[in-house]
Symmetry: C2
Subunit: 231 residues, 2 copies
DNA sequence: CGCTGTATTGACAACGTTCAACGGTTGTGG
DNA sequence: CCACAACCGTTGAACGTTGTCAATACAGCG
């Protein structure tokens, strides 16, 4: 039940805090293991906990009234997630699903007010986190408003490289299982179009595909594609 | 220079505060008049102040690297805006431009920490505000990912009715000058398409157009259009 | 009165979705 | 252990929504 301080000290959220404060926070946290494919919480469910990802990878999705799904974001180790209550919501606005074996720290939402009370840093950090997320959302809106699909996919893949890139001999591997459908739901297009684009890129030697796999061979090349003003 | 308490007490931000606290806040605020077409701050400018809109209407825009513009949001009376510094930014991420004669309260950003220190309510309110804005952004992403242009425009117009609707004999007036270009930049399309859609709606008696004018005659009809699942 | 910014409308092209069929891989249950 | 289902991916063809290009009209303003 007890999580060791050394496991979390490297995350941005904690590295400005004293050992004592970290210990207090950890003492109230429950670690939770989530198998790939399992959900941490469901869209519409009562927001009774908030979380931090220790290990693994999650995707947060939303389903529209007419059944279409989009991926809101990918959760990486060190990220806070599911703190809907802090935003004055009673329910979770999306579903968090593990795409690979993951471990999350869980706190009951009732503790949130105490936490920010005891540790003003946390409130500031939370504000920054949400601020960044808002900027990401606006960036995505900007892209969807002004760019054609191929550039959006390029940007999305580059973002994944940043967040989950792992160096390999032949290039940079996206370090979790990701399907064309997933990329489609991140960019607002269909898996067909994504498949075509990735095939074209593979022919150019920019990437290497595979079942739920993606290896980026030529980052500068992709960046050029992403930044290229409309011809 | 002094702003009377009664002018602001009706806004959500202040109505949970004591008269004394309100007075303290107001004592440090500078009211600023902005003519239609003038900017309050520029994208990229140093974020040395944050604001609350007392009267009028602003639009917040962003320009992309290749010169395309989008409208991030519309600022209504009572809204906080431009608190970039609280999100750990040094510059404003967008430009705030008055679309009609407006009055804003200005505070130097250095005061922000003191404010949330003295008035914990404010930090909570700020979190809620940003949380809502994040949800709006996600809603917009969802719409742009899954809906065709006409429905997006319908949603956008309905949102404007909520925010800036003014009852008239023939329907609900959008209470500030708004062009087809503006609507296009809010929905991620072109003014041509917006013009076509509005013309079609006018033929059906749903709206009445005009130069920088918009009157919604049939709200339920528009709502039906907006919610209609894809045929 | 002419200029500038806004709006309308048509013709056309194209990007991307939809529909459809097929191949390959993984995992499961008999 | 093999057969089969379920899922993921690929690719072709047709269609349609929407952007692009272009021409015109109109209102407001100096």
């Amino acid at each position: 039940m007890k999580v060791d301080r050394s496991l979390v000290k490297s995350f941005a959220l904690f590295n400005k805090m004293t050992d004592l404060d970290v210990d207090v926070l950890l003492a109230q946290a429950a670690p939770r293991r989530v198998a790939a494919g399992d959900v941490v919480f469901d869209q519409g469910g009562i927001a009774d906990h908030f979380f931090m990802l220790l290990h693994g990878r999650l995707k947060v999705t939303q389903v529209t009234a007419d059944g279409q799904q989009i991926i809101v974001r990918v959760v990486n180790p060190g990220d806070l997630f599911g703190f809907a209550k802090a935003l004055q919501r009673v329910d979770y606005p999306g579903t968090a699903l593990a795409v690979s074996e993951s471990i999350a720290l869980c706190w009951p939402t009732e503790l949130w007010p105490q936490f920010i009370d005891k540790n003003p840093h946390l409130a500031v950090t939370a504000l920054h986190t949400i601020g960044q997320r808002l900027e990401e959302a606006h960036a995505r809106i900007r892209e969807m408003s002004t760019q054609e699909v191929e550039r959006r996919v390029a940007h999305t893949v580059l973002r994944l490289v940043e967040q989950a890139g792992k160096k390999e001999a032949a290039g940079i591997r996206i370090d979790f299982p990701i399907s064309r459908q997933d990329i489609a739901e991140m960019t607002g297009t269909t898996l067909h179009t994504v498949s075509r684009i990735l095939s074209a890129w593979e022919a150019k030697g920019l990437v290497e595909g595979g079942r739920q796999k993606l290896l980026v061979c030529n980052v500068p090349g992709l960046t050029a594609l992403a930044d290229e003003a409309k011809k």
